[in-house]
């Protein structure tokens, strides 16, 4: 399964390592954010459920927009990742791939 690209990757190992590091910095930051939002919500449910019962209007409670907001936030986080990856990441990948091909030729 390993390809001949192994040798040529060494053409610019620093560039590649930086790319990998950046990818995981973004991914893990977004993962931590998602975990924080969800477990923050669970924490409030467990220990401060009264906060979510606060009235917004006549009867409507804070809990409903917060819950729906978490659904929206999960989707927005995936959107942020796609935006980042479609821009910077994909460009960097094609730059490194070009460099590899030049080295091969």
């Amino acid at each position: 399964m390993p390809t001949s690209a192994t040798a040529t990757a060494a053409c610019d190992p620093r560039l590649f390592a930086a790319l990998v590091r950046k990818r995981w910095t973004v991914s893990l930051a977004l993962t931590v954010l998602m975990l924080g939002i969800y477990y923050g919500f669970i924490y409030v449910l467990a220990y401060r459920a009264d906060l979510l019962a606060t009235r917004l209007g006549e009867r409507m409670t804070v809990g409903i927009p917060v819950g729906l907001g978490i659904i929206l936030a999960s989707w927005l986080l995936t959107g942020i990742y796609v935006r980042w990856a479609n821009g910077g990441y994909d460009d960097a990948v094609s730059t490194i791939k070009c460099a590899m091909q030049e080295n091969q030729g």
Partner: protein
């Protein structure tokens, strides 16, 4: 309001017509797909030709089961706000799939997630271990779906349970056997569109009774059934148990074989990434709809009526369909619910069959030396075999409480499949012994602890007190799997695996050499 008499459970002409139209269209697609499903790449991965939008819909289709549509709407109609907490748990796993596994999976694997784990490790032990994790996840999920579907069809159409199970099994085998992944994907897409359209129509019709003001709906619910409907109730009674369930849902989604397999149907990592964005949006929208449907059923149908038809509230969405759109709309939604059942079990069966033929037959028994034709023959036999097993399990578990099996499937996925997958992608030091130990430890701990938990030890075996205090084992079993993976890799290192890591990195991040 409470005098409402439902026609649910009686044969309904519209639902039968809609249902046969759905079957006719999907079988026609299967027939067309059958001509293209001869090669392995077509049978397992739809020729890698699925677009981002299509895969987004298919992923959503795989995830939006009849159990979540009818079950969550029912939970909301009886308990109000708590139903929303439940659906949020099922959604938050999707961003995790995107951030941690979607792209590496697409670039490193071929047809199954075991391809990725075994990429630089010894094939046989890893494939055997990963197959156990995969097959257990698929089987528990399948039992829950089959038993649920038999009960639902009985309630919806008045058909005998056994007839329902056999009918579901037969149609599902036809899709997978003849049409492979291509037909299964299109069945998912059609079902997802129908389900989202039907639920949207129901919400629009229900909200028209409240002047299209959602707040008016919530107010009406609180006026009739008390303010507690809009507040969190007893769902998070034990914080550690809630944390454990949260871990299972969050990381288990990223370990469900039938979901992971969908990433091989798209041409590249970029499309895989886009499809998760679409899927997350569609599933999130679906959960918002079911939340409103639940409240509308509570107010327009009445909580007592919902509970009288089915104590678990499972018929809330169907009753609301009848109240808002009459028998014709009820027929449509019932047919969509049945289509949903078929699509989900088809996806699960395909994932199970692929594990048997690609991981176990081709890569273990034949050690990678089998011909594609032989592997396809095994895949088709495995499909029929698994389909029959699903029907038999559905019959065997008739009338039993199988709700815990979905939680168990997620717990195994989060403990057996996800840690090994993540370690093999991220950690250079992962060794064959480490990965295999992680999978085995995760499986044994998850299954063992759930047997000792309140859900099985007390509710099913009838003992007085549980040996393990929480309903969900993931808070213990997932860290145990990571620990076993680390210990195994440190004590029995794998020089070959280390040396292949550089090549894996290139393929993972640049997509060079990806199939």
């Amino acid at each position: 309001m409470n005098t409402f008499a439902t026609t649910l459970g009686q044969p309904n002409a519209t639902s039968i017509i809609f249902f046969f139209v759905f079957i006719a269209i999907t079988l026609a697609i299967t027939y067309v797909a059958a001509k293209k499903s001869q090669s392995a790449s077509n049978f397992y991965a739809a020729g890698r030709s699925v677009t981002g939008w299509q895969n987004g819909l298919a992923l959503a289709g795989d995830y939006m089961s009849a159990a979540s549509f009818l079950g969550i709407a029912g939970l909301v109609s009886l308990k109000g706000y708590d139903g929303l907490i439940y659906s949020i748990g099922f959604l938050v796993g999707w961003p995790i799939i995107m951030f941690l596994v979607a792209e590496p999976l697409r670039n490193l694997g071929k047809y199954t997630f075991a391809d990725v784990v075994a990429y630089r490790l010894s094939q046989k032990p890893i494939r055997v271990a990963a197959s156990i994790g995969s097959l257990l996840t698929v089987c528990f999920y399948l039992i829950a779906q089959m038993v649920g579907s038999g009960a639902l069809v009985t309630m919806m159409f008045g058909l005998p349970y056994e007839t329902a199970i056999i009918a579901v099994g037969a149609v599902m085998i036809a899709y997978v056997l003849f049409g492979g992944m291509l037909a299964t994907t299109w069945v998912q897409i059609i079902k997802a569109v129908l389900l989202l359209a039907g639920a949207t129509a129901m919400v629009v019709m229900a909200l028209s009774r409240f002047g299209f003001n959602v707040t008016a709906l919530f107010d009406a619910a609180a006026v009739t059934y008390g303010d507690k409907m809009l507040n969190p109730g007893g769902l998070v009674a034990n914080p550690l148990d809630a944390l454990s369930l949260g871990l299972a849902l969050m990381f288990g989604t990223a370990g469900l074989p039938h979901i992971l397999m969908r990433f091989y149907t798209v041409p590249d990592a970029k499309t895989a990434r886009k499809s998760v964005f679409y899927a997350t949006g569609l599933i999130g929208y679906f959960y918002v709809l079911t939340f409103i449907i639940g409240f509308a059923a509570m107010v327009l149908v009445g909580r007592d009526v919902v509970a009288r038809v089915d104590a678990g509230g499972n018929m809330a969405a169907l009753l609301l369909a009848e109240v808002t759109g009459g028998t014709v709309f009820l027929g449509f939604i019932a047919a969509v619910a049945f289509a949903t059942i078929l699509a989900v079990v088809a996806g699960l069966t395909l994932a199970g069959a692929t594990t048997l033929s690609h991981d176990l037959y081709a890569n273990v028994f034949r050690a990678g030396r089998s011909s594609e034709e032989a592997e396809m023959r095994v895949a088709k036999r495995a499909t029929v075999g698994l389909g029959i097993v699903a029907v038999l399990l559905g019959l065997a578990f008739k009338g039993q409480n199988v709700a815990f099996m979905v939680g168990l499937a997620f717990a195994i996925a989060a403990s057996a499949n996800f840690p090994a997958l993540l370690l093999s992608i991220l950690w250079k030091g992962t060794s064959t012994v480490g990965a295999a130990a992680s999978i085995v430890t995760g499986t044994v701990t998850a299954v063992g602890l759930i047997m000792l938990s309140p859900t099985v030890w007390v509710d099913i075996f009838g003992n007085a007190a549980p040996i393990f205090p929480w309903k969900n084992p993931t808070l213990v079993s997932m860290p145990a799997a990571f620990l076993a993976g680390w210990l195994g890799s440190v004590f029995v290192p794998d020089a070959k695996a280390r040396s292949l890591y550089a090549a894996q990195q290139i393929r993972n991040y640049l997509g060079v050499g990806a199939e």
